[in-house]
C-alpha cells in the first residue's frame, strides 16, 4: 500500500510538472463545446443558420408568379429567407461565385401550362460550396411543388378557367371571377369540416429567456457529456501509456531490480489513470457549468458515473496499450479506436443522427454510449435511474478489462518488452 501511494504521488507530481497534455485534453472539449453551443444554442437568439440567400428568376412574369414572389419576400418569410430577384445569367453567376445558396427559376410559360394542367417544372440550381442552405431551399421548393399539385387536383377542370382569368393579356372579368369563385367554393365545401376549425393544429410556447442557471435542458451540458466521454478516454490513454514511457526512460527496469512486484506498478498506473480522469471531469464539468451557465441536475449520479467510467477508461485503454505491444503502435491504435467508439457511442453527434445500423446494433453495446446516454438522461430528468445500470455496467466491464490489461502487461514486461 505504501509503494502504491508512493508511485501514485510520483505520477501525479510528474503530471503536475508537465501539465500541457492534460490541459489540452480539458481545453479542447471546452472549446469545441463552446463553438458548437454558441452556434446552435437557442440562446443565440437566431435560427442558428442565418438567413438563406437565394436568387429567384421569374422568366414567366405572370400575375400568379408575382404572387409567389411577393409571398417569398413577405414579412414572415423574410425572417428566414433573403430572395433576390435576378435574371437567369446573373443568378447562375452569383451561385457559381458562392454569393448565393441557390437559384430558383420559374420558366417562361409556367403559369399558362400549370393552369392548363400541363406538366411543368421549376428549376433549381444549388451551390455545393454551402452545406445546409441549398438543402433548405430545396426542401422549401418541394413544399411549394406539393402545394401546387394539391391545388391543381382540388380545382380539376376549373383550373383552365382560372388560367384564362389570370392571363394578363385580357381585361380582368369580375363576373367570370365571381362564377368561378362560387364553383371553387362548392369544391371546397366538403373540406369545411377539416378547415374551419382545422382538424389538426398545434400549440406553440416560447419560454421566457433567462440568464439565471436553471433546470432547463442545456445544449452545453449535452455537448460536454459527449466531449467528456471521448476526452476522458484520451486522458486515460495518456496515463496508461506512461508504462511505455517508463520502459523508455529505463525507470521500469530499475523498478524491476527492486523487491516490489510488477502488479504494484501496474495497479498504481491504473489508479493514476483514474485520478486524472476524475480530476479532468471535475475541471471539465465543473468549469463547463460555470462557463456556460447551467447546473448539473444530479451531481451525485454524475459523480458515480464518472468514477465508473474512469475505471472502464483505465482498463480499456490499458488493454489496448498492452495489446499494441509498444508505445508507437499504442499511440496510433488507441487514437483511432477512441475516435471510432466515441463516434459510434454518440459522443460527437446525438445518437439519433447516427446511421440506422450503427444506432440500432452497435451503439447500445458501447460503454461510451452507456456513459453519455445515462449522464444525459439524468440531466434531462433528475428522477431517471438510468445511471445506476450504466455505472454498474461500466464498473463491471472496467474490472474485466483491467484484469486482462494487467495480466497482458505483466507478461509483456516480464518477457522484456521494449518501448
Amino acid at each position: 500500500m505504501k509503494s502504491l501511494q508512493t508511485l501514485l504521488a510520483k505520477d501525479l507530481r510528474r503530471a503536475w510538472r508537465n501539465p500541457v497534455p492534460w490541459l489540452v485534453s480539458i481545453a479542447v472539449p471546452l472549446v469545441i463545446t463552446a463553438l458548437i453551443g454558441v452556434a446552435f444554442s437557442p440562446r443565440a437568439g437566431s435560427s442558428g443558420f442565418g438567413k438563406v440567400r437565394f436568387a429567384l428568376v421569374d422568366e414567366d412574369d405572370s400575375r400568379f408568379t408575382r404572387m409567389i414572389r411577393d409571398a417569398l419576400r413577405g414579412d414572415e418569410a423574410g425572417k428566414y429567407l433573403d430572395a433576390e430577384i435576378l435574371d437567369r445569367g446573373e443568378a447562375v453567376r452569383r451561385v457559381t461565385n458562392n454569393k448565393l445558396a441557390a437559384a430558383v427559376i420559374i420558366p417562361k410559360g409556367f403559369t399558362k401550362d400549370y393552369l392548363r394542367a400541363r406538366p411543368v417544372a421549376l428549376e433549381l440550381v444549388k451551390n455545393p460550396a454551402q452545406a445546409i442552405h441549398p438543402a433548405i431551399v430545396e426542401e422549401g421548393l418541394g413544399l411549394l411543388v406539393s402545394a401546387l399539385n394539391a391545388i391543381a387536383r382540388t380545382l380539376g377542370d376549373d383550373l383552365a378557367e382560372w388560367g384564362a382569368l389570370l392571363d394578363g393579356s385580357e381585361r380582368f372579368d369580375f363576373r367570370a371571377a365571381g362564377r368561378l369563385l362560387e364553383r371553387t367554393g362548392d369544391h371546397l365545401a366538403p373540406a369545411k369540416a377539416y378547415l374551419n376549425p382545422p382538424l389538426v393544429s398545434y400549440e406553440g410556447e416560447t419560454r421566457a429567456n433567462t440568464s439565471r442557471p436553471g433546470p432547463a435542458w442545456s445544449l452545453f451540458a449535452f455537448l460536454l457529456i459527449g466531449m467528456g466521454a471521448m476526452f476522458f478516454l484520451y486522458m486515460a490513454d495518456n496515463a496508461m501509456r506512461d508504462l511505455y514511457r517508463e520502459l523508455r526512460f529505463r525507470t521500469l527496469e530499475r523498478f524491476q531490480t527492486l523487491h516490489e512486484g510488477l502488479v504494484v506498478l501496474i495497479t498504481a498506473k491504473v489508479a493514476f489513470a483514474m485520478a486524472v480522469v476524475v480530476a479532468g471531469a471535475v475541471i471539465l464539468f465543473g468549469g463547463g457549468s460555470l462557463l456556460f451557465r447551467f447546473a448539473w441536475r444530479q451531481p451525485l449520479a454524475l459523480t458515480v458515473l464518472v468514477v465508473a467510467y474512469a475505471l472502464f477508461a483505465a482498463g480499456f485503454m490499458g488493454l489496448l496499450a498492452a495489446l499494441a505491444g509498444n508505445e508507437r503502435r499504442a499511440d496510433i491504435l488507441n487514437n483511432v479506436i477512441v475516435m471510432v467508439i466515441s463516434l459510434a457511442g454518440g459522443c460527437m453527434f446525438p445518437p439519433q443522427q447516427l446511421p440506422a445500423f450503427m444506432r440500432d446494433h452497435l451503439t447500445p453495446l458501447l460503454p461510451t454510449a452507456w456513459f453519455a446516454g445515462a449522464a444525459r438522461a439524468v440531466q434531462d430528468d433528475p428522477a431517471s435511474l438510468a445511471w445506476v445500470g450504466a455505472a454498474g455496467g461500466l464498473a463491471g466491464v472496467g474490472v474485466i478489462v483491467l484484469l486482462l490489461a494487467a495480466a497482458l502487461f505483466r507478461r509483456r514486461l516480464q518477457r522484456g518488452a521494449r518501448a
Binding site: K2, S3, T6, L7, K10, R13, R14, R17, N18, F249, R250, T251, E253, R254, F255, Q256, T257, L258, H259, E260, G416
Partner: protein, 310 residues
C-alpha cells in the same frame, strides 16, 4: 564467503549466444570488474545477476542462496545502477532519491535523511531541488548512482556508470565508489575503459563475445603474458612475417604487428638485455626498440586479437 557468485551463466537471444558459461565471484569489500568492448555481454550478465533476465543455463547465488529461490530477498540487498539513466526528468534530484528510497522500503523520514546524506556525498546539495532536466550529464550520472544506494545495499551492480561523462565527473564517481568499497560493499563493475578497470578493480574478468577469456588481479592478468616486459620494435615491417624467422617463435610471442610496429613478449624468464640483442639482430631495418611493462590492453589484445577500443 563470496556475496555474489555467477556460475556458468548462459543466455541466448535467438541465434546469438550473448553470454556463454560466465562464472565469477564477488566478496565484500571487493570490486570485480567485467572488462570488455561494447556488445561483449557485460550488460546481459548484469541483467542475469539482478533478475531482469532469467539465465538459460547456470545460476546466480546471492549471499549463499540461489537468486531465483527467493528473488525478493536477493533484491533487497542489491543496488543496481543501469547503464542508461533511469531517473525521472520531471522530478528534482532530491525527489528522485526519495522516491527510489521509498520504493526500496525506506520510511518517508529515513528516505529524506538518506537523500540528504547522498546529495552531500555526491556533491549535489546545492542543486538537489532543481529539476533533473537542468542537470549536466555528470550530475545526472551521480543521481543515477545515488538512487541505487538509498537502501544501503551490500551488493552493488554498476553497469558502466561513467559512460559518456567528462573526466572530472568520472573521477568524482570513481572516488565515491572507492568509498563504498571501503565501507564493505561488494561491487560488480562493468566497463570498457581500461584505465578504470586498472585503477579501480581488485579483480578483473576480461569478457568478449559472451565468454570470460581471463580472470584475476591486474598482476595475474599481466602475468598471463608470461613475462614482465614487452618489446616494441619500430621500423619498416610491411610484408614481414616474423614466424618465418628461424628460432623466433621459440623465443618470442607476437602480441601485435603493424607495418611500422611489432610488439612481442619474451617466452619464459629471460634476461631483457639478451632479448634486446636478439631483436636488434633480426633481419629487418629496426629504427627503435622500447621496453615496457604490459598493460591490460596488451593482455586483451593477446586474448582477443584486437584492441579494446576497436
Amino acid at each position: 564467503m563470496a556475496l555474489l557468485q555467477g556460475n556458468d551463466l548462459s543466455k541466448r537471444f535467438g541465434e546469438i549466444l550473448a553470454v556463454d558459461r560466465v562464472s565469477f565471484e564477488v566478496s565484500k569489500g571487493e570490486i570485480y570488474g567485467l572488462l570488455g568492448p561494447n556488445g561483449a555481454g557485460k550488460t546481459t550478465t548484469i541483467s542475469l545477476v539482478c533478475g531482469l533476465l532469467k539465465p538459460d543455463g547456470g545460476n546466480v547465488v546471492v549471499n549463499g542462496s540461489n537468486f531465483w529461490s527467493d528473488p525478493q530477498a536477493a533484491r533487497r540487498i542489491m543496488g543496481v545502477v543501469p547503464q542508461d539513466l533511469a531517473i525521472y526528468e520531471e522530478l528534482s534530484g532530491r525527489e528522485n532519491l526519495e522516491f527510489w528510497g521509498r520504493i526500496a522500503g525506506l520510511s518517508l523520514r529515513d528516505a529524506r535523511a538518506r537523500a540528504r546524506e547522498l546529495l552531500e556525498a555526491l556533491s549535489l546539495v546545492d542543486r538537489g531541488n532543481d529539476s533533473i532536466k537542468k542537470y549536466s550529464g555528470g550530475m545526472k550520472r551521480r543521481v543515477n548512482l545515488g538512487c541505487a544506494l538509498m537502501h544501503r545495499p551490500d551488493l552493488l551492480l554498476l553497469d558502466e556508470p561513467t559512460v559518456g561523462i567528462d573526466p572530472h565527473a568520472r573521477a568524482n564517481i570513481l572516488d565515491f565508489i572507492r568509498g563504498l568499497v571501503a565501507d564493505g560493499a561488494a561491487i560488480l563493475y562493468t566497463t570498457h575503459y581500461l584505465e578504470e578497470a586498472e585503477m579501480l578493480c581488485h579483480r578483473i574478468g576480461i569478457i568478449d563475445h559472451g565468454r570470460v577469456l581471463a580472470e584475476g588481479t591486474l598482476a595475474d592478468l599481466r602475468q598471463r603474458l608470461g613475462e614482465a616486459q614487452l618489446f616494441v620494435i619500430e621500423g619498416v615491417l610491411a610484408g614481414v612475417e616474423p614466424e618465418s624467422w628461424v628460432g623466433f617463435a621459440e623465443r618470442f610471442r607476437v602480441i601485435q604487428k603493424t607495418d611500422r610496429q611489432l610488439t612481442v613478449a619474451a617466452v619464459g624468464q629471460r634476461d631483457p638485455a639478451e632479448c634486446l640483442k636478439e631483436l636488434l639482430a633480426l633481419p629487418v631495418r629496426v629504427e627503435n626498440v622500447t621496453l615496457k611493462r604490459p598493460s591490460l590492453n596488451e593482455t586483451f589484445l593477446q586474448l582477443t586479437g584486437r584492441e579494446l577500443r576497436e
